[in-house]
């Protein structure tokens, strides 16, 4: 196979989300990739294996027997000071859980693409956000993408942010809706990416001349200090994100923000979305506004660090916010719903919107314009958010109580 010389070969312009993720890692000149295949992530690492095999810089693609080992390899390589990438989904991400904590606590700028897939049982390969949001408290930054272009750009942005803040970053895309859907993509020139993302300069790394052990026992005197530093580093990353997005925009012309808003200023109802649903919501909002309905949209792109301050600014004075959650923290709310409520709690009561929670689209159930219009309608007609959480599209009506035979239901 021939070596790809950066800047000399016209890259493909139609890519699936997974191919875009792989190209993002390749253009970032990733040095160690370790991954274990799982539907619907598989084509990310297939594409990346092919690309890195042709790379003209030293790199290793390490095959392993589980996601736990994949993340362990990434951690080891990242301690070694090199740029490290993996991708996974659902059960695979859950299996990594212990080591996700390790990567964050170890302050290692690993980048992971998670293809959002519902958790089993029942077995499902289709999209929802339960897998990535279950890793909310591991200390990883999380970005939710809404298009194939988003994915490609965000893998590169993730390396930049991760290495600047010494924290790991997760880039999230929806199973099939994004991962296996091809869209026209503008590929940045390798030289441009190199300018934006210079070679990794690790804050610390393994040195055989000065052997040391990482992650050893840390007593009560200092443990809390180190955790506080992780927390504050994530907060600083939130502050730095607009600047880094700005640099990317100057380079590529594409602008992003941790929170993106449309038509919020005069809105009666604002939809709050994340992931691929956001692009459907944009269409719905445009359609409804053409009918003179005052509907707005807020897309939360950065989930960790949580952009609370920006959300308070954007939603100040908005009467009603309908939060769409493709996930559920069982026994409480959808997760974006509860996060938004906690973020807006500090607002003056007069300026604070009423917040309506909607859970929908679990296990890959399609979320189309009709479902979103239903959410808008329900929010308009209800004076108060009661119940706090409404399940959209659950089709079975209530019936009389009955005894269930074991295993039938």
């Amino acid at each position: 196979m021939k070596t790809i010389e950066p800047g000399t070969e016209a890259p493909p312009t139609i890519l699936t989300g997974n191919q875009a993720a792989a190209w993002g890692a390749f253009l970032s000149r990733v040095q160690v990739v370790s991954a274990y295949p799982i539907t619907p992530q598989t084509t990310v690492i297939e594409t990346l294996a092919d690309l890195t095999a042709r790379a003209d810089w030293p790199n290793r693609f390490v095959n392993v027997e589980s996601e736990h080992s994949a993340m362990a390899v990434c951690i080891g390589a990242s301690y070694g000071g090199v740029r490290t990438f993996t991708a996974t989904s659902s059960q695979g991400l859950a299996l990594m859980h212990e080591l996700l904590h390790w990567a964050a606590g170890g302050r290692l700028p690993v980048v992971l693409v998670d293809v959002n897939r519902a958790m089993a049982p029942g077995w499902s390969i289709w999209t929802d956000q339960q897998d990535s949001l279950s890793q909310r408290d591991t200390g990883w930054a999380q970005f939710y993408c809404s298009s194939v272009q988003d994915i490609l750009d965000h893998v590169i942005l993730a390396f930049r942010m991760a290495e600047e803040a010494s924290v790991p970053v997760m880039v999230v895309e929806d199973a099939f809706v994004l991962s296996h859907t091809a869209e026209a993509v503008s590929l940045p020139a390798p030289a441009e990416v190199d300018r934006f993302l210079p070679p990794r300069r690790p804050a610390f790394s393994l040195d055989v001349e000065k052997p040391r052990a990482f992650g050893g026992l840390l007593g009560p005197d200092w443990y809390q200090e180190v955790r506080k530093d992780l927390h504050e580093s994530l907060l600083r990353l939130g502050d730095a994100a607009p600047r880094i997005y700005g640099e990317w925009e100057r380079l590529t012309g594409r602008s992003y923000a941790p929170v993106e808003a449309w038509g919020v200023e005069d809105a009666d109802v604002v939809l709050l979305t994340s992931g691929a649903v956001s692009s459907t919501a944009r269409e719905v909002v445009a359609t409804l506004r053409a009918r003179r309905k005052r509907v707005g949209l807020v897309q939360v792109r950065m989930f960790r660090p949580f952009p609370g301050e920006r959300l308070r600014e954007v939603l100040r004075g908005v009467p009603k916010v309908a939060v769409l959650d493709r996930n559920c923290s069982f026994g409480h709310h959808g997760i974006f719903h509860q996060e938004l409520k906690s973020a807006l709690y500090s607002m003056e009561a007069a300026e604070r919107p009423r917040i309506y929670g909607y859970v929908l689209g679990l296990g890959g159930r399609d979320v189309g314009p009709r479902a979103l219009q239903e959410v808008v309608r329900l929010t308009e007609v209800r004076e108060a958010p009661e119940p706090e959480t409404t399940w959209i599209g659950a089709v079975l009506p209530e019936g009389p109580e009955q005894e269930h035979e074991e295993g039938v239901r």
Binding site: G105, G106, R107, L108, S166, A203, F204, P211, R212, A213, F214, G215, G216, L217, L218, G219, D221, W222, E225, V226, D229
Partner: protein, 564 residues
């Protein structure tokens, strides 16, 4: 960061490292208290070293060769085996039978590596450290492998040594029996020169008579068996009936005896095969006649296989019963079939007459290779023989005070050169201890093997994650079709480079090579290098996880119940 009262202190947030890391074991959490098992380093016995006929520590030799430390390799081998260039060519190498490498790419060719060690010794004239000759002088009667090994051992222990040899040149069977295609004569000459160079005096053409022993102090009797066994059949004395030993000795003298075209070689030992294969090389057509089956042949399996490669026919379960002159000048050999009977005292089936009739074959010559027996008339007074074997006690002492015996005529003698060399060494040590009045220290290099657990390291004990399955470095061998007419060695040497590659393939089963794997994998920094080699486990921190045991490539780390 500063350290105050043994504790790390940080002044500011920026002073704090990003992530917890440590330069050694943590001081205050002695994880060693968690364990109920603890690891310890102890070498197991490598299967090859265990089986070596000459007590060579094969694995130690492989480590030195792998590292290219040739002189050290020679010096390591010499105490057990002063003649690695000889055994590196003649040894039946039972060490390779249990080689664990067989299951992973192919067994190690130990003999080929040993041969390079031996040739290096001769090329570079490596001499053992020689103490001054301050101990009583010792006479050695016989200069075969056992006598020479005894002489060298005694010399390295500080005895002046005189070797007496009846023949015109020293070397015994190495000089007069081994054919050139197995052991070139210049190797023998070089070894004899090397022995002389150590200060051992060798007197050739000097038969030792009964009375001569009266003038000896302590002495070693390392006799060969002087007399060939007869066929015991009519016609045995006819012209055209030859003795294999004499035939091989004539060849070794540089003659090319012409016995005729069709030659029957009678016998199944190494001498019979050496004779038959030599005849083939002289242009004759030998046939080997043996009274039992191929399995019962005393010859080495390798020699039988090579003879078969060369196309030499075998007639098994047949025994000669008569010889008479043939009309055209040859011999008519009458042979009869045999059947196996009950096992005899050697465990082999007795040979009984078969049911069929007799066969007569016409040959030009017959070569007798039926083994040899002791000529008792030359034995010194006080030395007894029983069943054709010298009587010695478990310390190699004959009935004559001060006279020790080893070699072909002693118990266990005549099986292989390697065993003769070992017996010569052990006999010399026994003599030395008696003369010195004290045993050799347990760690003396002439003692057997290093202190190890007697358990043999098995393939399942080893960690194959550390070893590639690369194939052996096989020595080049002369094509069978080219062997008739040529006394060139059948097997070529590996050369030093390929020998190093082969030695590197060796697992070094059961033995610590100082590879640091245990140290590197220990999650608690609890394994430390010991000054002077080896490792120590810091039990204050070792929590008994067993990672070192699991990861050790060669099963040199083990678990036991924790001591505290």
């Amino acid at each position: 960061m500063k350290i105050a009262r043994g504790r790390v202190q940080f002044e500011t947030r920026q002073d704090l490292p990003l992530s917890a890391n440590s330069l050694g074991a943590t001081d205050w959490n002695r994880t060693g208290s968690w364990k109920y098992l603890e690891p310890f380093h102890r070498d197991l016995t490598p299967p090859c070293s265990d089986r070596c006929l000459a007590d060579v520590d094969v694995v130690a030799m492989m480590r030195r060769v792998e590292a290219g430390r040739w002189e050290e390799a020679v010096r390591g081998v010499l105490p057990a085996n002063p003649f690695p260039a000889v055994t590196g060519r003649l040894c039946p190498h039972p060490c390779t039978a249990p080689c664990n490498r067989k299951a992973h790419g192919g067994g190690i060719d130990v003999r080929a590596v040993e041969r390079e060690v031996g040739d290096w010794k001769l090329r570079h004239r490596v001499r053992p450290v020689l103490p001054p000759e301050i101990l009583p002088s010792v006479h050695v009667v016989g200069s075969g492998p056992a006598g020479l090994a005894a002489a060298v051992t005694l010399r390295t222990l500080g005895h002046p040594v005189v070797v007496h040899e009846a023949a015109e040149e020293a070397g015994g069977m190495l000089r007069w029996s081994a054919p050139a295609f197995r052991l070139p004569i210049d190797v023998v000459h070089a070894e004899i020169e090397w022995v002389k160079d150590l200060g051992v005096r060798i007197q050739t053409s000097t038969p030792v008579l009964r009375d001569d022993y009266e003038g000896f102090g302590p002495a070693v009797l390392a006799l060969g068996l002087g007399r060939s066994r007869g066929l015991g059949i009519p016609g045995e004395d006819l012209p055209g009936v030859h003795d294999a030993c004499r035939f091989l000795a004539d060849l070794r003298r540089g003659e090319r005896p012409d016995l005729g075209q069709r030659v029957a070689v009678i016998g199944g030992g190494n001498t019979a095969l050496d004779a038959a294969r030599s005849l083939l090389r002289l242009g004759a057509e030998p046939v080997v006649i043996y009274r039992r089956s191929e399995r019962e042949m005393p010859a080495f399996r390798e020699a039988v296989a090579e003879a078969r490669e060369e196309g030499i026919p075998f007639r098994f379960h047949e025994v000669p019963v008569a010889l008479e002159p043939a009309k055209g000048g040859g011999l008519l050999l009458t042979i009869r079939g045999t059947v196996p009977g009950e096992p005899d005292e050697s465990g082999r089936p007795r040979v009984l007459p078969g049911p069929g009739g007799v066969t007569v074959i016409e040959v030009d010559a017959v070569v007798k290779a039926l083994g040899e027996e002791l000529s008792e008339e030359l034995l010194p007074r006080g030395v007894e023989a029983k069943g054709g074997v010298l009587v010695v006690d478990d310390r190699w002492r004959t009935g004559r005070p001060g006279l020790f015996a080893c070699g072909e005529a002693a118990p266990g003698g005549g099986r292989s050169v390697a065993e003769s060399i070992r017996d010569g060494r052990l006999c010399a040590i026994a003599l030395h201890e008696e003369v010195a009045g004290a045993p050799l220290p347990a760690d003396h290099p002439l003692r057997r093997l290093p202190d190890r657990d007697p358990r043999i390291a098995k393939f399942k004990d080893l960690n194959m994650a550390w070893f590639a399955g690369d194939p052996p470095e096989a020595p080049r061998r002369l094509a069978p079709a080219l062997r008739a007419g040529s006394f060139d060695p059948v097997e070529e040497g590996l050369g030093t480079d390929r020998a190093r590659t082969e030695a590197a393939r060796c697992f070094k089963c059961g033995t610590c090579t100082g590879c640091d794997t245990c140290l590197v994998y220990c999650p608690d920094f609890a394994i430390e290098r010991r000054p002077g080699g080896g490792y120590a486990v810091n039990l204050e921190y070792c929590k008994g996880c067993g990672v070192c045991v699991e990861e050790c490539p060669r099963a040199a780390v083990h678990m036991r119940r924790a001591s505290s």
